[in-house]
C-alpha cells in the first residue's frame, strides 16, 4: 500500500481514509458545511464531497448527471473486469435507469416487511447464542464478540451459503470496502479468490437447487430469459457486502454509544417501548454508509465545475447532521420524534435491506441490554473504527457492571 500524504486541508484535499476522518468525521464535516460547503480532492483521480442535506438529496435524485456505475471510491475507476452501466458489476446498486428498476424489483419482495419480519425468532436466538458465550465475563468485546456475528448469519441463510463460511464473508467485505487504497494492480489480483468463492457457490446451487435467494436468482426470468450469470453473481456479492458490515457497524455504534451514555442506557432498559425511536436516532446519528457516484458529463453543481468521471462522495451521514434539517443536529436525542434521516439513502437506490437492518439492529440491542443492563466502555483508546465508506467501531471493549 502506498504511504499517503497526511491531509492538511479537507476543503481542498479531502480523504475519507485519513485517520482523523476515520476516528471522528463530524467536526470535519461541520466545518466544511459552514465554510465550503463542497470539498474537493485530487486524490483517487479527483472528486467532490458535498456536505449539506440539500446537495446530497439532489445528487441522489439526479441519475441523469450522476451515475452509480461505481459506488465505492478507489484508485481505479475502470477496473479490468469492469461491467459497464446500465447494469454495472453489482446490480442494482451499480445500475442506472432504466435497467436499475428491473434488477431492483427482482430482489425487493424477499426484503419486504413480511418475509423479513418472519426472521425475528432466528435473529433473536442468534443474538442469545453469542450472548451466552459472553456470559460470566467482566470484560467483553461488543464488536468482535457480538455485533460482527449477527448480520453474516442472517445473510448466509438467505443466500443459502454455508454458515461456517462467515470468516470468508468478512474477508470479502474487508477487501471490497476497507482496502480502497490499494494500487489498481493489487486490487485486480486480490479479487480472484473472491470471484472463485461465488462461482463455486453458484455452481453448487445450479447442481442442487434449493429454496433460497441464490436459486431464486438463478431461475427467475425477465422477459422470458434467465439472468446473465454475471448479473446473478453481482447481485449476490452486493447482498453479502451490503448486508454485513453495514448492520454490524450500526449495531456496534449503538452499543458504543450506550456504553458511554448511562442515562440513555437506563432509559432504554426501563422504557423498552422507546426502542423504535432510539433505533431511528442511532441510524441518523451514526449512519454508517457513505456512497459514491461518478459525474456523467461535465456539469456545474452549486457553482462547482464538476468534470466527467470525477468522483462524488455521497455523504448520507453528513446530510444527517445538517442543522438546516435537524434541530440540534449534533445532539443525540433518544426519543427524537421527527427524524427524517437519510441513513438508508434517498431516491431510487433506497437500501433494499432497510427492513432487515432495522430488525437486526432492534433485536440485537434488545437482547444485549436485557442480558447486560449496565455496562461501560472499558477503554475508548482501544476502540478501532473501520475506514472507508462504511464506518463503524470494530473493537468495542466493554466492562459489564450487571
Amino acid at each position: 500500500m502506498t504511504i499517503k500524504e497526511p491531509v492538511e486541508d479537507f476543503a481542498t484535499d479531502w480523504d475519507h481514509t485519513d485517520p482523523r476522518w476515520v476516528r471522528d468525521p463530524y467536526p470535519i464535516w461541520a466545518t466544511l458545511r459552514e465554510t465550503c460547503p463542497v470539498a474537493h480532492t485530487d486524490r483517487y483521480g479527483g472528486g467532490w464531497f458535498p456536505t449539506t442535506h440539500e446537495m446530497v438529496s439532489s445528487i441522489a435524485n439526479d441519475t441523469e448527471h450522476f451515475t452509480s456505475r461505481m459506488v465505492v471510491v478507489t484508485n481505479n475507476k475502470f477496473p479490468p473486469n469492469f461491467i459497464p452501466a446500465p447494469m454495472g458489476g453489482a446490480p442494482p446498486i451499480t445500475s442506472d435507469p432504466p435497467f436499475h428498476a428491473i434488477a431492483r424489483r427482482l430482489i425487493l419482495p424477499a426484503f419486504a416487511p413480511g418475509p423479513v419480519n418472519a426472521l425475528e425468532p432466528q435473529i433473536r436466538s442468534l443474538c442469545r447464542k453469542h450472548l451466552d458465550a459472553m456470559a460470566g465475563h467482566e470484560f467483553v468485546d461488543a464488536g468482535t464478540g457480538y455485533a460482527q456475528f449477527i448480520p453474516p448469519g442472517v445473510i448466509a441463510q438467505m443466500l443459502g451459503f454455508p454458515a461456517e463460511d462467515e470468516d470468508i464473508f468478512r474477508e470479502i467485505v474487508h477487501f471490497i470496502l476497507d482496502l480502497v487504497d490499494l494500487a489498481p494492480e493489487e486490487r485486480g489480483e486480490m479479487s480472484e479468490p473472491t470471484l472463485n468463492y461465488f462461482s463455486n457457490q453458484i455452481d453448487d446451487h445450479l447442481a442442487n437447487p434449493r429454496d433460497d435467494l441464490t436459486s431464486y436468482l438463478l431461475n427467475v426470468e425477465v422477459g422470458g430469459k434467465k439472468l446473465a450469470r454475471e448479473h446473478v453473481t453481482g447481485t449476490i456479492v452486493l447482498i453479502l457486502v451490503a448486508g454485513i458490515d453495514t448492520t454490524w457497524s450500526a449495531i456496534g455504534a449503538a452499543l458504543w454509544h450506550l456504553a458511554q451514555h448511562p442515562s440513555d442506557l437506563a432509559r432504554l432498559v426501563s422504557e423498552p417501548e422507546l426502542m423504535p425511536l432510539a433505533v431511528e436516532e442511532f441510524l441518523r446519528f451514526y449512519a454508517p454508509v457513505t456512497m459514491a457516484r461518478l459525474v456523467n458529463d461535465d456539469y456545474e453543481f452549486f457553482g462547482c465545475p464538476m468534470k466527467k468521471d470525477d468522483w462524488v462522495l455521497l455523504g448520507f451521514p453528513a446530510a444527517n447532521r445538517d442543522p438546516e434539517v435537524f434541530e440540534r443536529a449534533d445532539t443525540f436525542i433518544i426519543d427524537r420524534e421527527v427524524n427524517r434521516h437519510a441513513a438508508f439513502g434517498l431516491g431510487i437506490h433506497r437500501c433494499v435491506g432497510s427492513n432487515l437492518a432495522r430488525l437486526e439492529l432492534r433485536v440485537a440491542l434488545e437482547e444485549f441490554i436485557v442480558r447486560f443492563p449496565t455496562f461501560t466502555l472499558a477503554n475508548d483508546a482501544d476502540v478501532t473504527w473501520a475506514p472507508g465508506q462504511v464506518r463503524g467501531p470494530r473493537q468495542i471493549p466493554i466492562r459489564v457492571l450487571s
Binding site: 431511528e280 438508508f344 432497510s354 432495522r358
Partner: protein, 64 residues
C-alpha cells in the same frame, strides 16, 4: 382530511407503516400504501402528520 402516498415518490423507506400501522401498510415490494380510503379523524390526523414529517422522500400528502 385525507392522507395519500404518491407511489411515484415513495421508495419504500418504511417509516409510515412503522409509525402509524393503523393508517399505512405495505405492498409486496415493501412500498407504503394507505389503508382504506385515507380519511382522517381528529385522532388519526396527528399520527398521519407525524408519519409525513418522518418520510425521507416527502411522499405523503394530507389534503382537504
Amino acid at each position: 382530511m385525507k392522507v395519500r402516498i404518491d407511489p411515484d415518490i415513495c421508495q419504500g423507506q418504511g417509516r409510515c407503516f412503522s409509525i402509524a400501522p393503523g393508517l399505512f401498510g405495505f405492498d409486496e415490494l415493501g412500498n407504503g400504501v394507505v389503508i382504506g380510503d385515507g380519511t382522517l379523524q381528529a385522532d388519526t390526523l396527528a399520527l398521519a402528520q407525524l408519519a409525513q414529517a418522518n418520510c425521507p422522500e416527502h411522499a405523503i400528502f394530507i389534503e382537504e
